[in-house]
């Protein structure tokens, strides 16, 4: 944690977001697959949950952190296995663009519900 460059920030972000995601993601999975059967999580279930600002915030935080954490992980993997700088840049622009679009879609889904 001594460094201050972008990679040190990335390292710290992965650990901090990871710690939060352990709770958010596992709780989300448990609620939608263990506590409730997946068949029960229909429109009515979602509407009931999203009536509460708490669960909207919970789900949006999960959306944002999981996307950023995953995108940064993919960036690390691409950096390790794709040798050409140009190919890396193009690949990350594509995956980043897709993630950005899905972040917008997910945000609109939660906020506009």
């Amino acid at each position: 944690m001594t460094g201050r460059g972008p990679e040190a920030r990335s390292w710290l972000f992965m650990r901090l977001s990871g710690l939060v995601l352990v709770v958010l993601a596992l709780l989300h999975f448990a609620l939608t697959h263990i506590v409730n059967d997946v068949v029960e999580t229909d429109f009515e279930f979602v509407a009931g949950r999203w009536a509460s600002p708490f669960w909207r915030t919970f789900d949006w935080l999960l959306l944002a952190l999981a996307l950023l954490h995953g995108l940064n992980g993919v960036r690390t993997i691409v950096g390790d296995y794709v040798a050409s700088r140009r190919a890396r840049a193009m690949l990350m622009a594509g995956i980043g663009g897709l993630s950005g679009a899905l972040f917008l879609l997910g945000t609109l889904t939660i906020v506009g519900f």
Binding site: R15, G18, L26, V38, T41, V46, T109
Partner: protein
């Protein structure tokens, strides 16, 4: 696992590294799909129709796989944080990895039984 002059020998820590990447990547791919399927909630009838598919045995098995990937990635991530931050964790790093695997298998199997149960009970 030994290729060319690689110093890596495929011992526990390296398999954990591979498993962390593979599980993380798979969960990321699922996340992208999941954002799209939840966005259908704007059209309740369409959402419910697509949603009924999740009770299918194949998609239940898929959920069990997702649970194993999530558990391993989450627990191994905690192991990584522990090894990074707590000097004492380094000494027991191997025991920590065994614990990660054990808890993943036990919790994943228990969760898997709950997820698959409705199928075996005949409710599709």
């Amino acid at each position: 696992m030994r290729t060319g002059g690689s110093p890596y020998r495929g011992r526990g820590g390296q398999w954990a590294f591979v498993g962390h990447r593979v599980s993380g990547f798979l969960v990321f791919l699922f996340l992208l799909l999941h954002i799209v399927d939840v966005s259908l909630v704007r059209w309740p009838a369409v959402y419910d129709e697509v949603h009924r598919l999740y009770g299918n045995v194949l998609l239940r098995a898929f959920a069990v796989g997702l649970l194993f990937a999530l558990l391993f990635h989450a627990l191994n991530g905690l192991r990584i944080v522990a090894v990074d931050l707590l000097p004492r964790a380094v000494a027991v790093e191997r025991a920590l990895l065994r614990a990660v695997i054990a808890v993943t298998l036990v919790a994943g199997t228990a969760g898997g039984v709950v997820i698959m149960a409705p199928f075996f009970a005949g409710a599709r």
